[in-house]
């Protein structure tokens, strides 16, 4: 290799490292630096603030509802698309992709128009005393919408690549539908499924735009963690905002680690 050809890769790698430092590592470190700027005690006080604790609880609760629902939906949709030919199949494939291409805030506004007081279903819901907007159901619905592609998108390519011969073999050996799913299909997709679930969790925990429209950000009631960070920031409680942000970051980092471990297992 000629000597000058080594220079170009070094410059490119150097640029990539600098860009990563500036855009990802420094801000991440800064979140924790700012959160701990006034010492452990103030940090703990901020985290243990009842409103912050409630925001953490609400965020976890939403994830606990959304992720299992999306796992069920994702596996069912992927199975249907991979194994069967039916009218509307390509429509379903497109529909699963829609949340990726639509800004979450549009989803939020759609729900607002649909379930709001002036919306199509608003009067009926009000008459039956069902509260969807500015309450948990609204937050869950929007988060479901935004995260619905994650599991299906991870599982579908794997199911298509593996084909249905193993399932057919199980049929000829006398296995029932449920036995085939539990003992043949599920073990084959388990890593992709977990991987999709991890991505789905990360997205559900971090969702801001769509939730901010439908939740109303009522402190101690409908304020999720990302919304809470923004409120604290607007209150000029910088340390509090960064403390809350540090918990979100921690969740994200753990998710990231899980994801890379699972990626390794999946291969």
């Amino acid at each position: 290799m000629r000597p000058q050809s080594r220079l170009a890769p070094r410059i490119l790698i150097g640029l990539a490292v600098i860009a990563t430092l500036l855009m990802i590592v420094v801000p991440l470190v800064y979140i924790f630096a700012a959160a701990f700027a006034q010492g452990w005690r103030v940090y703990a006080q901020n985290i243990l603030d009842p409103l912050t604790l409630h925001a953490i609880w609400l965020t976890v609760l939403v994830a606990l509802i959304v992720v299992p629902v999306n796992i069920a939906f994702g596996v069912a949709a992927a199975w249907a698309i991979a194994r069967f030919r039916f009218p509307g199949r390509s429509l379903l494939m497109t529909a699963i992709e829609i949340p990726f291409s639509i800004s979450p805030i549009i989803a939020g506004i759609c729900y607002l128009l649909l379930y709001g007081r002036q919306g199509y279903l608003g009067p009926w819901l009000e008459a039956h005393d069902i509260q969807i907007l500015f309450a948990l159901p609204g937050i869950v619905l929007v988060t479901l919408f935004v995260t619905s592609p994650f599991v299906a998108r991870e599982v579908l390519p794997l199911m298509q690549a593996q084909g249905s011969e193993q399932e057919q073999a199980a049929v000829t050996l006398g296995a029932s539908g449920w036995q085939i799913f539990r003992r043949v299909t599920l073990p084959n997709i388990r890593w992709a499924l977990l991987y999709g679930a991890v991505l789905c969790t990360a997205r559900a925990v971090g969702e801001f735009g769509g939730v901010s429209v439908v939740s109303g950000s009522i402190r101690g009631q409908t304020n999720t963690l990302p919304l809470h960070v923004e409120l604290l920031f607007n209150d000029l409680n910088i340390t509090g905002a960064f403390a809350a942000a540090s918990t979100l970051t921690l969740i994200a980092v753990v998710t990231l680690l899980l994801k890379s471990v699972l990626e390794g297992r999946a291969r």
């Binding site: 193993q166 057919q168 073999a169 199980a170 000829t172 050996l173 296995a175 029932s176 003992r183």
Partner: protein
């Protein structure tokens, strides 16, 4: 179990893959479905297994209507071309699968399951692989595990789709002999699909030759080889040379052809076609013959010759190199086929030349 198939037809969209199949398989028989790809043989096998359903026709096994029975209830052993082993289970669990999924009332005890699996591992000569996973096995070993998994449920019928298609030639030969032995020990009615005529003839009691969704001929290896029922069957037996001849009194005549070694046929007099295999033609020097050697290659064991006549028609001839007469480019030679099949004009012909290698 006796399998009786009557008037079976099946279409995928606009393509008709089975056109009125009638077939009876005797109890304990080892039967081959032989045909080129697209002949419908795999579809027929899948219908017997319950993985596909026909548009018309009947499937009766041991007096029972199997089309009313889901695949789970048929107790068939099906061996897939790509084996379809469960990658997350070891060999032992793969083989035991069919027993462990039985409803609790019918399920054998764990000790019985273990004993069955142990017996099969011994029968299949894979005792030492019991704890391995499919990804750690060679193709031939996977094939044995797939067969073991199918045999574990003591199938009423054993079905194999291209059982040796994914293996190389040396292993194929071993496994063929071994499958024959396994069949003799278990005695279950066995049907296998193949596109390899050598495999079909060596292994099967009877061979069913299929082409274009129909049964072209049923018979033993010798019957089909000596008396191919149609030009399609002849071509599929490797008779890829189609020589235009004149038939008279059951004998083929053409310039440069000495058909005296061929038995007389019952075809009508007139123009016809003689189908020949490149490896069953002897060559004699004859200056009057129109066939001249235009190419001569040696593979070490065989001579590969191309003969051309003045009209530009070409035929391939393969001779064993040892003991072959000295042949040089430009020599004029007379064809003396040792085997061939004659059909008069108007006899059904296969539309396309058959590809024997997959």
């Amino acid at each position: 179990m006796t399998i009786t198939i009557t008037g079976m037809s099946k279409s995928f969209d606009a393509t008709q893959v089975l056109r009125g199949i009638d077939l009876k398989v005797e109890d304990g028989e080892l039967l081959a479905l032989l045909g080129p790809s697209g002949s419908g043989k795999t579809t027929l096998l899948r219908i017997i297994a319950g993985l596909d359903w026909p548009d018309a026709g009947q499937l009766v096994v041991a007096g029972q209507d199997w089309l009313a029975l889901p695949a789970q209830k048929r107790r068939i052993g099906f061996v897939f071309q790509q084996y379809a082993l469960f990658p997350h289970m070891n060999v032992r669990d793969n083989i035991a699968f069919g027993l462990t999924v039985r409803p609790r009332a019918e399920r054998p005890s764990q000790a019985e399951i273990d004993a069955t699996v142990d017996n099969l591992l011994t029968l299949l000569q894979i005792d030492h692989l019991a704890q391995r996973f499919p990804s750690q096995l060679s193709g031939g070993q996977r094939q044995r595990v797939a067969l073991g998994r199918a045999l574990a449920i003591q199938p009423s019928v054993l079905l194999l789709d291209e059982p040796f298609g994914a293996l190389d030639a040396a292993i194929r030969r071993d496994l063929r002999r071994w499958l024959r032995e396994v069949h003799e020990k278990t005695g279950s009615t066995t049907i296998f699909v193949t596109h390899d005529q050598e495999e079909a003839f060596e292994l099967a009691d009877r061979v069913v030759v299929m082409g274009d969704g129909e049964i072209s001929q049923i018979g033993t290896a010798d019957e089909i080889y000596d008396h191919p029922a149609s030009a399609f069957v002849a071509q599929f037996m490797g008779a890829v040379i189609a020589l235009p001849v004149t038939l008279r009194g059951g004998r083929a005549m053409a310039p440069g052809l000495d058909a005296s070694a061929l038995p007389a046929c019952t075809e009508a007099d007139g123009p016809g076609t003689l189908y020949l295999r490149p490896d069953s033609i002897m060559l004699d020097p004859d200056p009057a013959s129109p066939w001249a050697v235009t190419r001569r290659d040696s593979t070490g064991t065989d001579l590969r010759l191309v003969l051309t006549d003045p009209q530009g028609a070409q035929i391939d001839v393969d001779l064993p190199r040892r003991g072959a007469p000295t042949i040089a480019l430009g020599d004029r030679l007379r064809l003396r086929p040792l085997w061939g099949a004659m059909f008069s004009e108007g006899a059904p012909l296969a539309a396309d030349p058959i590809q024997l290698s997959a």
